[in-house]
Each structure stands twice: as structure tokens, then as C-alpha cells.
Symmetry: C3
């Protein structure tokens, strides 16, 4: 599965400075504690200097500070500004993504009007609908269903059993993990005395370039207009994105978070897991929202760190929790005060 390189090759790849033996062969990555011969690991924190010193890895990625303070056993050291990032880049080279033989599997059902890019792969039992377009080098894995008029860009990976409803649009280098669902109808109804009537859900979804979407995440189509996931944004597993949301660029959203309709999340926001957003909320650039937080409809979340249900600035949340821990004591103090007042009053009478 993995490829072999020399420590020197890898230093060149990550524009690092090689110290030691450039010819050491490297075949795999590992964490610092387990890395052994022909493996590379990284050290990104002083806490791990002691372990790094004992490491039997063939090569270590380290920052300048480590290099000056640790006597490494490893035969090759690569000094870089960001060892963890360099490690990630090296992993991509040592473990290249699965390559499929380009072509359309005989069991796939591809509409005649669909366009499949060169070097693309359409796997067993996948379906590609009418007038859909699939870019070059894109992999559509087994059982994925690509609706009519869908556009999927170049170099995408569409994992098994993904469903793209009709008309949605996916950019380049997008990864959709297993069973992701994009473009199902938003949850909108009009109630009268007969019950609920479906509000039209005729909009679409646009997924921009370099987005990765975790397994089983669902992104609903807009009622009118479009739901958007901005460039470079990463969603974890089982996230729910409601109709008409506009999620900016480089946003990170952890697992099981639920986003109601028409929410705006600006660029670079960081959102924890199991967070819930009321509809029409807006999260401003630079906001960080802790896991399990709850945001009331229409709220504007300003830059800073937020926590709790309903959310409040982290320091206020911590202060409130400290107060909560002293509620018993407070009640005791009030009781005590009452008692003392009674006594004082008695003494006052006596005078």
C-alpha cells in the first residue's frame, strides 16, 4: 500500500533542512511512540522531547527548537516550521489515494446524456442521471446515486452509497464520505386546518472546491435559491445542514451538529460537535462555538469563544458554572443571615 522514499526525498518535498543520513529509506508513517525502522514520525511539542529522544524511528520531523535541545537517536532529522503539517504532506506521498482503473463499471447505470470526464471511474451499481456531468479523475464509488443535472468537478471522491439529488453542484477535489446525502428537500410546511402542506423545495445546493464531508452528513437543498458550503470547509459525520444555509470558506464543523434553515456561518468559524443552531442565526468570522452549545433563532454570534445552552461568552459561562457550584453554600449563607438578623433584632429589643 505504501511507497518508499529516502529521508532526503522527503526533506525536499516539505522544503525542510535534513540533518543526518539523507539516504535512510522511509516507507511509512507512525506516531512518535510506535515509529520504528523505515518509519517517520513528528514532534510538535516540548512535552514529547523525552519520548523523541528515545525514538527508534528512522526519521523525525521537528521544529528548530527541538533540534537544538534534543539528542536524537534517529539517523535522519528533518527540520521544518510546522512538523505536523509536513507529516501530513509526507503521508499523502507515502500513502497515495486508492487509484481505480478509469472507466465505467459494466453494472453502473449511466444516462446517455450524462458526460463522464476522462480518467473518471464510475463503480459497480452506481447511477448517473440525465445530463449529469462528472469531471476528470473523479471516482464515483459503488452504489452512489448521482441525480439528473448534477455537476461533479474534477478529482473528487464520491464514496459508496452517497446520494446527490437532481441538480446539485459539487466543485473540484471534493470528498464525500459514505452515504452523504446532498439536496434532499428542506423541512418546510404550511399549516392549515387540514394539516401540513409542503412548502416548495425547488432550490439547489452548491458545494465549493476542496470541501470534505463526513459520512452520513445531510445537506438539504434550498426552498428557493441555494444552500452553500464554501471552499475548503470541512464537515464531520452526521452533520445536518438545513435549507438555504450559507456556510463560508474554511469553516470546520464537528460531528452531529444540526443547523436549521437559513443560517449563515461566515468564513473560518470553528464549530464543535452536537451544537444546535436555531434558524436565521448568523455566526461571524472568527467565532468559535463549543460542543453541545445551543443558539437561539436569529442570534448573531460575534467573534470570540462561545459555550452553553443558550450560548454565552466562554468566560461568562465558566463564571456561571462556578456560581452554580456554590448554590448550596449560598443558600446556607442566606439561612445564616436570617438567623443572625433574628438574633440582632432580639438584642436590639433588650436594649
Amino acid at each position: 500500500m505504501s511507497q518508499s522514499k529516502t529521508a532526503g526525498d522527503l526533506a525536499t518535498l516539505v522544503k525542510g533542512r535534513l540533518v543526518g543520513d539523507a539516504s535512510v529509506p522511509i516507507e511509512g508513517i507512525a506516531d512518535l511512540e510506535n515509529a520504528g525502522e523505515r518509519e517517520i514520525a513528528y514532534v510538535d511539542n516540548e512535552k514529547f522531547f523525552a519520548i523523541a529522544e528515545q525514538s527508534t524511528a528512522s526519521c523525525l520531523l521537528v521544529a528548530a527548537t527541538a533540534l537544538s535541545s534534543v539528542a536524537f537517536r534517529a539517523p535522519a532529522i528533518i527540520e521544518v516550521a510546522n512538523p505536523k503539517l509536513a507529516f501530513s504532506l509526507i503521508a499523502q506521498v507515502l500513502y497515495p489515494p486508492v487509484q481505480r482503473e478509469p472507466g465505467i463499471h459494466p453494472t453502473a447505470v449511466v444516462a446517455e446524456s450524462a458526460q463522464i470526464g476522462s480518467s473518471a471511474f464510475v463503480g459497480p451499481h452506481a447511477c448517473v442521471g440525465e445530463y449529469a456531468r462528472v469531471g476528470t479523475n473523479t471516482r464515483i464509488e459503488s452504489g452512489a446515486v448521482i441525480g439528473a443535472n448534477v455537476e461533479v468537478g474534477n478529482e473528487c471522491v464520491i464514496h459508496p452509497n452517497v446520494v446527490l439529488y437532481d441538480g446539485v453542484s459539487v466543485g473540484n477535489r471534493v470528498i464525500l464520505h459514505a452515504a452523504v446525502c446532498i439536496g434532499a428537500d428542506g423541512f418546510g410546511y404550511v399549516r392549515n386546518n387540514m394539516g401540513y402542506h409542503k412548502f416548495p423545495q425547488i432550490g439547489t445546493v452548491v458545494i465549493e472546491d476542496d470541501v470534505e464531508v463526513g459520512a452520513h452528513t445531510c445537506i438539504d437543498r434550498a426552498a428557493l435559491g441555494r444552500t452553500r458550503i464554501g471552499r475548503g470547509t470541512k464537515l464531520d459525520n452526521m452533520v445536518h445542514v438545513g435549507h438555504n444555509c450559507d456556510i463560508g470558506e474554511r469553516v470546520v464543523i464537528a460531528a452531529q451538529t444540526g443547523i436549521s434553515g437559513s443560517v449563515v456561518i461566515e468564513d473560518d468559524a470553528v464549530i464543535g460537535g452536537q451544537v444546535g443552531f436555531g434558524d436565521h442565526t448568523r455566526v461571524q468570522k472568527g467565532a468559535v462555538i463549543g460542543s453541545k452549545a445551543g443558539i437561539l433563532p436569529g442570534k448573531i454570534v460575534r467573534p470570540g469563544v462561545w459555550w452553553g445552552i443558550p450560548i454565552q461568552p466562554l468566560d461568562e459561562y465558566k463564571r456561571m458554572n462556578a456560581h452554580l457550584g456554590r448554590l448550596g453554600q449560598m443558600r446556607e449563607e442566606i439561612k445564616q443571615l436570617k438567623q443572625e438578623l433574628v438574633e440582632l433584632r432580639e438584642r436590639l429589643k433588650e436594649k
Copy 2:
């Protein structure tokens, strides 16, 4: 994709009163701010009167109050009691649901003993099990798996990769979005010193007419008996419904809510997203439960609006939150009182 009608046709359709030019052609719907020529929009709130006045839509749906107070530019106005509802009905006509050529796709696997209704569609790679029955005009989309002895009514839409376990029953005009799972085993075990043993899960699930179920929602079969989703009920994405639940008619449940076993939710309840229900709770008709609420096992939720973990009436919840915001001040006051008491006591001594 859309059909063309005149404003007059649409006024007739929604039993509205047409003011202006009945011959204006209408091809699409849009929201008030974006609607242009050949498009229809609706105005359901005074807030939007100013925008409505400037709207370049060819036709607007408005209530009587709007008609008397706004000087519209739109060449055609339709007066109706409920503009949003009329808009929804018109959308259904202008954007008719996808029609499939009736028939069974050659890649579908349909048991010989299964019955497929006239004008039904069974898509690529779909499976229909033994003795299953699929009604007339029903669409079974790609990759959907219909188990043995399943019944699906007429005019249903079963989206891609839905799984209906053996024996479940689905009514008429039901929409199941992508990857919905109905009839998986409930979560029930008996523990002894060896570990957990599966409690039997041999019941079924009944989905009544006019239900819509969001993508990835899971409804477990009953241990014994049946799990039920009542007529006209709407579930959003990723809702979990445990074994033996009985959900009434016209209930609305937002995304990611989890319902433990044997919960009863009576007709017309409205449930927010990410709510959690302990087992054997009962939600009475007329109850509204806010998002992220938590309901303890066995609780009876009476009519009214409920909020919080554990739930309490909304006004109590708001009052409690107001108190919580003043905890710091309360502690300060207690400190102050103590100090003042000390001083008083001193002064008393002096006398």
C-alpha cells in the same frame, strides 16, 4: 422543468380573486425580493409591504389587507386568505414532481412473488423482496431495498438507498427521503453475567398516509407489536424513533431528535430539533417542545410550551435563566449583607 400558466389559471387554482391582467404568463416561483418577469411571489406579512410595492414580479399572492394598503407595480395580483399556502399549491403545479417512465428497470431485482402496481417505477439496482406489494404510481428510486412482505401504498416516493426491513407497512402518498431506514431492530437486551442477550424484536412498523420522512431518519420496529407514525406527520432528517413508539397524526419533529422506546406523542404535537425523549414518556396533544430539550423517562408532557433539560414550562425556563444571569450579583449581595451585619453588631456592642 417548470410549466407555464396564466395568472388567471393560478387564481382559479387557489380559489383567489384576480386583480389586474389575467393573461400574464407565469412560469416560475421566487421569493419576493428576487421575483421578476413570469414569476409569482407571495406577501404574507406587513413587514414586506415596502418590498412588495417595488416588486417586479409578474404576479403576487396577497391577503385582503395588503390589497387595500399597497400600490403594487405587479400587473396581476391574486387575493387569497393564506398567500403562503396558495404559493405552495401553485408551486406543485408549476414544478410537478419528477415523472418516471413506469416500469421495472432491468437492473432491479424483484421477487417473483412481489406485486408491483400499475404505473409504478422500480429504479436501477432497487430490490423488492418476496411477497412485497408496491402500489400504483409509486416510485422506488435507485438502490432502495424493499424487504419481504413489505407493503408500500400508492403514489409514494421512495428515494435512493432507502431500506425497508421485512414486514413493514407504508401508506399512500408517503415520501421517504434518501437512506431512510424503517424496521431495524430496536435496542433491547437482557443482561446476565455472560453479557447482553438480544431481546426479541419481532414487531413491525406502520407508516400511515401522507407522512414525509427526512433523509437518514431511522424508525425501529417494535419488540412485540408495532411502532407507528400517524397520518400526515412530518419528520426531518436524522430523527431516531425507537421501538414501540406511537407518534400521532400531524406531528412535526425537527432534525436529530431522538425518541427512546415506547414513547407516545399525541396528535398535533410540535417538537424541535435535537430533543431527547426518555422511554415511556407521553407528549399530550397541544404540547410544543423547544429544540435541545430533554425529557426524563416516564414524564407526561401536558399541553403548552416546554423548554430546557429537563423540560419545564417556557415561562419558568425564562425566569430561571434570568435568575442565572444574576447569580454573580446575588453572591455580591450576600457578601454585602454579611459585612453590614458585622458592622451592625459592632455598633450594637458600642451602645
Copy 3:
């Protein structure tokens, strides 16, 4: 669907003592209130003795205490130590799991290098990747996708549309419900000024024997190393297990719980629904965590019952909630104290 046995057969099966007519035929199970002729039910609680006395079931499973205190109408009674467990075992005999004709469905796509065990079933439109191994008597249902180098043990049931990514390993007698996803990439990125770069996700997932996983649950592969689900553990629907988690044996986790990366849950823990775990938390053997709880990253959860966000011991949680309910009263008392102090001070002045 069900098989017929006599009450005597069933008593032998569960090593119980038969009282009454051993020849009574039993064809089905039912709950105590609904059981009738040819059906067996169980009584595991004094609360139900009155109902049990009136039961028209042909056979009842009861504990010794019931036998001595109730005058049963049922013609056959089986006395056992654990009636609910005996009922579960009997259900397995009366309702044997679906048997598939062994073999590979002609529409399945199985790599030539894959090994399929004897008596295994590979259903319609299932895929089995290169070098994958499927054990004896295992059922791979429709649309399931088994990646390359995957191992699935003996007597497993892999329900429709399950996705096993390349290289994961599943033990014996494992049940994976519909659309379970095992081995998708963990959620790990390195940020620099360009955006997020994927941290390598090259580890695997190991599911041990006798695990059952609910519909739509996702278990991510480890970044490096492995994610593990221990023997006999049971996960409910829509649980999220992050990369590098180590879940022990006989752990029970209810629906929609989310577990961040590198969490350790020791044997026999019991976890409610919608719980959220911060990364690197450790739950010790014997801990019980209530539904909707939230655990901060790095926390060690000791044995005992825990509740709340953030979690605290249940008794503290209850005490805190009692305090919260009296916040209004506390504020009133403080106001009263202030008033009384003012009065006291006035009286002191007068003296």
C-alpha cells in the same frame, strides 16, 4: 415465520421446571397483556402478578416467587431464574433468523481475489472488494459494500447498504444494521494560513465478536493505529465513534451519542443517548452516564452514575437542580434581608 414447539420442549431449552401440561403447543411469543392461545409470555415483576393471573397465554415464564403467590390460568408454567432472559432465548428458537439460500447473487460484484466462506450469502448488488474475506454462514445483504482487504467473520449479518471501507476487520456473530459505516476517515486536519490540510487517516477499525451496531452508526478509522469496538458491545442507531477510540467489552451506548477522537470507554460501561464526549476522555469500568450528558475533553469518568453538562455525580446533579428551582425564592430572601437590615439600622439610629 414462527416454528412450533411444546411447553415441555421450551422448558428443556431454558433449563426451567415445567408445571402443568408439557404438551401444550407454543408457536409464538407475546407480551403479557396480549398473549393468547399457543403463545408464551413472561412475568418478571410483582407489579404484573394481577395481569398474569388473568392471562390467557398457553404458557408463562415465571420466577419461583411468582409460582408460589399466583393462581395462574395458563395451562403450562415454566419456572426459571430469569424469565425475561428465558423469553429471549425461546424467541430465538420460535423465530429463527431469516435464512438465505447460500451463494452469491448474480448481480453481486465480488472480486476474484476475495474469499467467500461456505454457506455464506452475498445479496443483490452487494460488492466485495479485492482480497476481502467473508466467513462461513455470513449474510451480506443487498447493496452492502465490502471494501478491499476487509475481513468479516462467521455467522455475521451485514444488513443492506452497509459500507465497510478498505481494510477494516469484523469478528464473528456481528450484526451491522442498515447503512452502518465503518472505516470512514477520521476528522483530523492541520491548519495553516492556506486553510485545512488532511491529517493522515491510514489506521483501521476492529470490531470484535458478538457486537451489534444500530442502523446508520458511523465508526471512523484511526488516524494511525486502530479504532476498536470490544466483544459483546452494543451500539444503538446513529452513534458516532471518532478515530482512535477504544470501546471495551459489553459496553452499551444508546442512540445519537457522539464520541470524539481517542476516547477510551472501559468494559461494562453504560452510556445513554445523545451523550457527547470530548476527545481523550476515559470512562472507567462501572461508570454509567445519563442521556444528553456532556463530558469535557480529557476528563476521567470514575465508576458511579453521572449526569449533566458538564457531567457531575447524579446526586450532586439532583441537588443542583433542587437549588435551581429555588433561585427565585433565594432572590426574594436576599431582598427581604436587605430591607430588614435597613430597618434595623434605622432603629439603631433612634436609640
